[in-house]
Each structure stands twice: as structure tokens, then as C-alpha cells.
Symmetry: D2
Subunit: 327 residues, 4 copies
């Protein structure tokens, strides 16, 4: 099940950038949770990013609830949500077929699927599919946070282009017909102790698995992360200061032995600069074997990382919902 994720709470995504629709089937949502179309809108709008630095293509991301909801509550059967594709300009992408865009999946998609892939706008590889992740995340957030528990997932863009003045970094990129990467930081507060498993289903394994499912992610680190490689044990060990397991520092990022320890869960992800840029680039023509000049058409983000916080939150919520349903 290559296009599904999760054990008890599992999602299956489908659709292509320029096909009829993209969508998601969500399996394992408990019955009786309030769910209406309106619930999805805030996160869907967050995914569309800020005006500056994101593309002009503003889908009317209207979630159609096809199944699994009855009388405005989840019914216990699989929930299907569809997003029609309306605002597509397929002609912009016709040349992808033979001249793969640098940094994109065009080349590998062509090879893996023997040229049968839908290459328009990246097809199934498109960032458009993340709308399905966000929709599933909205439901996952409801599962992990019944009113009285107060589990809060929060992700934000910490840096772009290596600096904290994110507007400035993006302006610079736009002026130079270029794009810029960024760092997203995500925290989760008030998690119970004991989620996750010692080895293969460690919380880090599951979150990293989910996060690297998002296009454009290049790295992930938990707690002290790569800094840990430069530290001594006496610096790095977090001292437990009470019977609830609170620690004086949080180099562990809220996880020991793969399992949540009750402290804040913290991780950071590295987002690469948008691959589609306005500058002319070189690539290979798969038919002729010649190097050609390529102008990537279509509308593109200067900083794809702007859209990432809500997507990172969503996949984190999906992992946590699955783990919490197993308890």
C-alpha cells in the first residue's frame, strides 16, 4: 500500500495536479466527531500561504465530503474528501514531457512509470497533493485533542534563506528571479507519556517517515538534533527533576527510546528552495539526448517553505492520532 500511511488511523491519497480532482480516504476515524466543511477552511487557507512568495494559483480549495460523515458527525466508516481541480493551465506544462525540470521528479517519474505518468504539472508528484494531507490533518487534530486534553501542535517558519527576517529573504529571492529555502520548527505540547515504540515505530521514525512524505523536505532533527553531534554527554543528558518526568533541559526533544516522555516534542525540518524558478536553466531533452535551455512556465512559489508549517502540523497530527488510538 504504497500510497497509504498509518495503522489504525490511516490515510490514502490520490489525484493528479491537472486531473479531475485530488483527494484522500481516511480510515479509522472514531465515530461521533463533529465534522463539517467549515472545519477544514482555516488550515486549507494557511496551506495556500502568504500572498508574497507563493504562487498566483489560488484553487478554490473546497473540500467535498463524499463519505463517512452523517448528520455532521463522523459515522465510523471511511471518510473521503475530494478537491476538484479547476484552475489548471495544462499547456504550461506540456514541455515537461521531454525536458525534465531540474529539481523536480519529472525525470524519475518518466523512468519509473515507463513514460505513462501524467506529467502535467508534475501529475501525482505535485505539491497539490498536500491539500489531501492537510484535510486529513484537520481530522487528526480533532482526534488527538478532545476539548479537555489541550494537546497543541504548532509549526512555524523559523528562518528563510538562513535568516529570521523572512520577508527580506523572500524579497531578495523574488527580485533575483530565484527561490529560497527555509526551516520549519514544530512543537507539540501536553502529550501523554508513552506514545511510540522502542525501535521501528519510534516517534522519530514515524514522524520522519510522515514528514519526508512531503515534497521538498531535505532534513529533520529532533531536540538537540545535529548539535548533539558536537556535545558531551554531560551537557546533553536532560536531568529529570520530578516524578512526572519533567526535565531541566530538553535535548531529547520530548522523546527517549523512541517514546514520548511528557516534555515538549520538538523537531525542525529543512525545506529546499522551490525548484521551479523564473531563471533560464539547462536540462536534457530525453528524446534527442541534447542539452537544452528551459524556461519553467506556470506559477510558482518563491519560497515553498511558507506553505509548510500547516502541512508539517498535519502529518504530525496524523502520526499522533494513530499512536493515540493504539493506546
Amino acid at each position: 500500500m504504497n500510497n497509504s500511511f498509518g495503522k489504525l488511523f490511516s490515510i490514502s491519497i490520490f489525484g493528479e495536479s491537472h486531473g479531475k480532482a485530488v483527494g484522500v480516504v481516511i480510515d479509522g476515524c472514531p465515530a461521533g466527531i463533529d465534522l463539517i466543511q467549515q472545519d477544514f477552511l482555516d488550515d486549507l487557507i494557511r496551506r495556500q500561504g502568504e500572498i508574497k512568495g507563493t504562487t498566483e494559483r489560488k484553487e478554490k480549495d473546497i473540500p467535498q465530503i463524499i463519505s463517512g460523515v452523517f448528520n455532521n458527525k463522523t459515522s465510523g466508516s471511511p471518510i473521503t474528501i475530494l478537491f476538484d481541480n479547476k484552475d489548471v493551465k495544462s499547456e504550461d506544462y506540456e514541455n515537461i514531457k521531454d525536458t525534465p525540470r531540474p529539481g523536480h521528479a519529472d525525470f524519475v517519474a518518466n523512468k519509473k512509470f515507463n513514460s505513462f505518468n501524467d506529467y502535467r504539472g508534475g501529475g501525482y508528484f505535485s505539491g497539490r497533493l498536500t491539500v489531501a494531507l492537510v484535510a486529513a490533518g484537520v481530522i487528526a487534530k480533532k482526534i488527538i485533542n478532545p476539548d479537555d486534553q489541550n494537546i497543541i501542535i504548532n509549526a512555524y517558519l523559523e528562518k528563510a534563506g538562513g535568516i529570521k527576517d523572512i520577508n527580506k529573504a523572500i524579497d531578495t529571492a523574488i527580485i533575483s528571479n530565484d527561490s529560497i529555502g527555509g526551516i520549519v520548527k514544530c512543537t507539540v505540547n501536553n502529550l501523554p507519556i508513552g506514545l511510540g515504540e522502542p525501535f521501528f515505530n519510534s516517534v522519530e521514525s514515524l514522524i520522519s517517515h510522515a514528514v519526508f512524505s512531503i515534497p521538498a523536505i531535505k532534513g529533520i532533527e529532533f531536540g538537540s538534533g545535529f548539535d548533539a553531534a558536537r556535545m558531551n554527554g554531560s551537557q546533553h543528558n536532560d536531568t529529570i527533576i520530578n516524578a512526572k518526568g519533567t526535565t531541566s533541559t530538553n535535548n531529547a526533544g520530548g522523546i527517549n527510546g523512541g517514546i514520548t516522555n511528557g516534555n515538549e516534542l520538538v523537531f525542525r525540518v529543512a525545506v529546499k528552495p522551490t525548484s521551479s524558478i523564473a531563471k533560464t536553466q539547462n536540462t536534457i531533452n530525453l528524446n534527442s539526448g541534447d542539452i537544452e535551455k528551459l524556461n519553467v512556465k506556470g506559477r510558482h512559489d518563491a519560497c515553498i517553505a511558507l506553505r509548510m508549517p500547516v502541512i508539517v502540523e498535519s502529518v504530525t497530527a496524523i502520526v499522533l492520532a494513530d499512536l493515540m488510538l493504539q493506546e
Copy 2:
């Protein structure tokens, strides 16, 4: 199946640090591959690390092949490999029960398993279990590299304590009764184009899932990794220079859209400093609720990262074997 990993080539690990044995069941190995006890020894010895900076506990890591091998070849049925635990000093660990060691899983194990966990030497959470990963990795390497294909996985300790003079970093840690972290770099050459899937089973998702199953890992980055967050798209995009997909740079780390692109697969992992150190530390007494002084007994590595290259290679091979069997 919380303690298993893989779809067609899958492994299940078991055992506790101070129990009778640790081991692994390997399911999905094709029939007819040469396999004898001797084949495991090189990697098992690599896992025991260098003399300096690793513990004095040198298990006779003798792999016992219990099933799945007939006339020195794999038979197609599940392969089981056992490692007896002989050199254990359980009394060293008795105080773990009430006073969790900082940086270890003692506290969460106690909570998750309601005090029924085998706490001796970390029990199931022990790094001892990585011997099972290495044994499975030996078989995985055979699967992905039949004689004529030349797929080479190579991992090495790039830095310890932030410097490339690894001996010096370890000496410093030992002198100060402390430990030190490190960075392991792993490359894979000559992979076919097309392994992996667009989203949930991206190569990065699967490798990170497997790598974070190893205790002590804090971060992973592919290709340009965290540097990508500071780069422009025009710098980061790798130009395809021929019809085989060779790129002029390799910021992608050999992966586009979750799928191998035929260039070198490259990733780095951050390893935290060994949690067990000779210095006296504070911790909580779970019975009394008081802060106590703790001297962690037992024998411990000054730099657990020294053992990591072969373990990282092993889990990488396990992922790749699974992907290659799906093609």
C-alpha cells in the same frame, strides 16, 4: 507489528540486554543465497567498534542460524538468527529500577509498560538489539548486491565532537569522564533509477524511518540537507547532463520526488553522545520522589557513534532490499 519493519523483506527483532538471547526473524529472503555463519562476522566485529571509546563488554557475538538455511543456502522460509547473552552483570543495573538514568529510556519504559519492563541494562531498549539489525543487514546486502550489480553501501564516522580528528575528540571525552557525539555519513552507489514511491514510501521516508529505529540518532539529512534551507533554487537545482540522468551537482542526494535518480544516494545522521557517563549525575527516585545522586555503573562507550556506521549501513541495506524486491 510494532517490532517489525519492511513489506516484502521484513525483519522482527526480539530479546533483552540481560535475557537469554537477542535475535531476529528475517522474512522474505529469496531462496538460494549462500549463507553461512562466517558471513556475519565482519560486520558484527565492526559493530563492536574500536577499542578506544567503546565498552569493555565484548560479547562473543556468535550468530546461531536457527532456521531458513539449508545446505548453506537460504531455503525461502523465514531465517532466524539468535545471539546468546553471556557476558552480563545484571547487578550493575539493579538501581535503574527506581532511579532512571538521564538520557536513557528507563523512565518512559517504566511508564509505558507499567513497571513490568525488564529494566536490567535497558532491557529491550538496549543498544544490544542492534546486533540483530546488523545480522539482518548482512543478508540484505547479499540481496541487493548479486555479483554483477556492484551496489556499494558505505558509511563512516565523519566527525566526532564537531571535529574530523576523531581520536582526539574521544580522548578528550574519556579524560573528562564524559562522552561525545558524532556525524555518520552514508553513501550508496550504483542504485537503479526508480526505487521508492512519491509520497509515503519515499526513499527518504523509508530510510529515515529505519535510521531513527537505531537508538541515539537525533537527525538525518539527505544531500544538501539543512544547508538547503539557506540556498537559492538556482544554486540547489541539480542540472541533468545526460540521458542517464547524471547531474552536475548532487544536492538532491540521489533522490527526486522520493525516488532514486541514479546518482549517488547520500545522507548524514547525527548521533548523540553516549548517555551513560562516568560522571555523577542527578535524577529522580521514582519511589520517593526525591532527587538523588546517580553513578551509572556498567561498561559504556565514550562515543557510541563509533559503532554506528555498520548499523546505518545495515538498516539502509534492509530498506533497499525491500524496495528492490518490489521491482
Copy 3:
């Protein structure tokens, strides 16, 4: 993933009888297979059954291909097929809410999902969902039977009401305002030797798992089946008569040790009589706790087994496609 089935070729079904649509996501179909709407129609019409003995509700079962097909060929990404629900009379079913219909899932659905289930027409439990199985089966049949292989799956209604004159059995049931069960026999010819696994993924395990996913199935037997319980070993053993493994008899039903042996795969399934009948029945009122008279409204089949052959073929094809993709 409770509503999915299959390892490499896997399907996820969704929808409710009286919701917007029912459908299926099909994951793992190889790229490059011809697929158009027309391909589904024959099997969809077979599923609607003969005029006599099946309900008057004739959905326009028009499959909408939402994703995974490009230029009339499968693209390698997940295939989604939707069937709109148009011809529904929800008011017929309103009383299901409190007075569960005998033989149906109304009572358990209410209990399992804490009354949040969509009870209209059985909701997600409806036989309507089998349209999704048939659609997936059409694709599975294409996978297992590229032109040159000639693997033929054939199921038919062998008996109804215990007799081979099926028309007569159904007429009798209709006249008495009742319904009748039946036996479906399924054969598969020209399968390769070696599909399936010794224990948990035996061909019998997988086929029975899939077949019992179809509502109304009460039993399954392979080859000699229940007759085997009365036979001697000397009668039952099939003698191998040539090096291809052809046997003189086929009590094994084409399977030894869970694995196809190259002879005809044969199994039979028992289908219960339709639960919805025109006769007045007693049931409990879940609100009052009283016994009440119940007249089941809506339109119902006199013999649901009439629709079963194509559904049994479909799930068999789904199992075989998954197994063949693993070879």
C-alpha cells in the same frame, strides 16, 4: 487499515448506500494498462443480476475515473473510481434506526458505532459497496491476464435453494414473499505454479479472507471441501502424473501447502438467502425494548446469490493480482 485489502495491489473502499457516492482507491496497478470507462460495464451489468430475483433499483452504475489514468492508460499512481448514488429512497429506511432488520447489520452497526452510523439502507454495510469490488476486479483481471497468458476466472451460480433449476427456486421464493440462498462455484485455469505462501498467506487464507468480505457469504470450501472430512487418504490424495504436476484427480482444488500447484483452482461459496423479505417479521425496538412487527420496505432481491458470481470473480482476481505482482 480496516477498509483496505492487499499488499502490493491494494484497494480501499468507501461510501454509504444513501450517501453521495461509493467508490474505491486502487493502489499498486502497474503503469501502461489500457483502461477506459467502457471496460467496466460488462461486469457492472453482471453484478446487477438478472431481472427475475433481483431488485428494481437499477443504479446507472457509471464509473467515474477520478485519478490514475492518463491518455486511456494507467499512469502508475492510485486509481480512484466513483459511483454516484442517485436512485435512493431514504425514507424507506428511516425505521431501521430503531428497529433493526433481522439478518442485517443494523443492530451491530448501531452498537459498534454508538448510534452514529449512517443507517439509511444499511449505510456502509450495504451490498451497494460491492460495486467498488467489481470495479477493482476489472482492473485486477487485466493485471493477471495479459493477452498471452490466458488465465481465466469463471464463477457461476451452481444451485439456488438446493436445486440446479435456479429459475424454479427463485419463482418459488418470490411467490411465497420469501428469498432463497445459493452456491457459487469459482474456477481459475492456467495459473502458474507457486503463488501463495505456506501458512498465513496461503491461497486459501487470502481467497477466503476476500470472499468473506462480501456480505451474505456463509461458507467456503476448496476442492473436495467438506467432502474431504468423509474421505480416506487413499481416495483423497491426488496422484501426480507428469513433471508439470498435473494430477489425476483434483481434491486439492489446485492448492497444496497453501500454494498453487498448476491444476485448476476450484472453490465453492455458500450464499445465504436475502435478509430483506416481504413477509412481516418480528424484531426489537431499541428505544422501547419491545418486540415489534416489522415490514422491511425498499426493493430487495429474492436471491442475492444471483449477483454473486461476478463479485466472487472480482475478489479472486484482486487476490491473484496481488500474488502475481509479488512474484
Copy 4:
């Protein structure tokens, strides 16, 4: 994971009839359940069958608990149980290599595994492996039946050779150097309402999947089973007579829509006659392609069905434990 079964409570079996050992890894057993070697003995002895009609090979089926148990309680980590193979006469089986025994998996094993399979005594295909199922079943029974719940699984041999006088049937078979099949009936009482899922994880799907994992099973039927195919709906529908869902009849066998309804779970399985018989049989010589006479050596049961009740109970308990842990 072809040799594993279960989602939250999952088992992986391994070993060959004439190898070092057979065993099982049990993943997902909750921590804190009492478990000692003695707990396994009753069911292991039941599996060895009655003296009459079962083979003389009486392994000392001594379960060695390798992992997952600490201070006589389950610890929450994977439980591994090994059974050494001691009483083996491999020379009895040498001729299997070239002359496959009728009714056995010898032929398909040879083909599937390209002659690399361990053919001695059937290797991994041997009924010997059912000792691992029984061991896992002992633990599963403890999970589903904490003291106060009173869930009782009971299986027994209902008929052998078509008659209820089982001793007579077996005597007849022994006298004629032959073997005989049988019917095992299994019931489960006091199950909660709501176990199982509507389609792919219906209780019938899961139990049949598990039951057909046992060698020699030819059919399964739930409740009315194959009789349902001859019945009218008005006869077959079970009337609900109270708010707890008790029904006046139990044609459903305790399951509606794939989900337990709180009434007795009932199913029957057909067991074929033992394939190994003392009579001389014909088979093919795989080397020469000639038909040869074959005398199957070794010790064999006249009625393998005698051993089946405890094995059927075991796999049923494994399914139910997995389902109950999901609630």
C-alpha cells in the same frame, strides 16, 4: 510479511521440521500478564493428540521462553518461544527430494523455492509448525480472558470419516493402512458485541484467514454455513428478542455484517485425511519424469483432525486477541 499474522497482536513463525528448532515471535502482548512455561503444557499435550490415530513421534514439546517475559510476567517487549527439534529421523524423508508425496506440498515447495527448500519432513511446510500456533494461542487466550470476562473458546472433533463414533472411524482407517478426515466445530461464548469490521476485516474474513493457515483444512462455514444455501430468508433470519441482541436462532453464527453480535460464535472446519498413508502410492520422479511407486516412510497420524481442535482454538484466540486490543 508473509509469515506473520495480526495487526496489534501479531505472530511470526519459523523453523523447519528437521531443523534446529521451530518457534514464534509474539508481538503486541500487553505487559503484566502472568506467563510461565507450565502455562503452555496443557494445550501442547492436546495438540499431540490421542494415542490412537496420531503418530509415535512424541516431541518433548518443551517451550523455551527466550524473550519478553520478566519475573514471570510479560514485559511488553516481543515474546519469543522456541521448541527444539530432537526426535527427528531425516533419513526417512530423503526420497521426498525427488519423488513428491501425494497430497503434500513437496512438489510446490520444490517449484516455488527452486529446489532450495528444506525438504526433510516437509521442512517449513510441516505440521510441526503448528506447535508455534498453539504456543501463541496460549498467550492469546490469556489476553482475551482476564478473570472476570469469561470468554470461552471451545473446539472439538465433531465427526471423523462422516460419523460421530470417532474411535470406530479411526480403527477402520488404521486397519486398512489408510487415513480419515474429520469435522471440527468451534464455539466462542460471551464475546462482546462489535468486534470485527464491515468488509475486509470481517470476523469471518479474519478467522477463515487464520484457520486456512493450518495445514489440511479444506473448508469453513459459519453458523448455518452451507445449509444456508438451501434455506429461505424467513427460516434463516434470526429474530432479535431483547435489547441485548439475543436471537431466537443462531444461523448467523454470532456475526452480522462481519461484526460479532453477542450471540455464540460458531463455525465448523473440514479437515482432510492425513496425506501420509502406509499404502503404496504412485508419484512422479522429478528427475527422470517417470511414474514410480512410493512408500511414505516416517510416522504419521491416521487422523490429523484429532490434533486440530486445540490448533483451531489457538488461531481463533489469536484473531480475537488482535480484535479486542483494537477496541
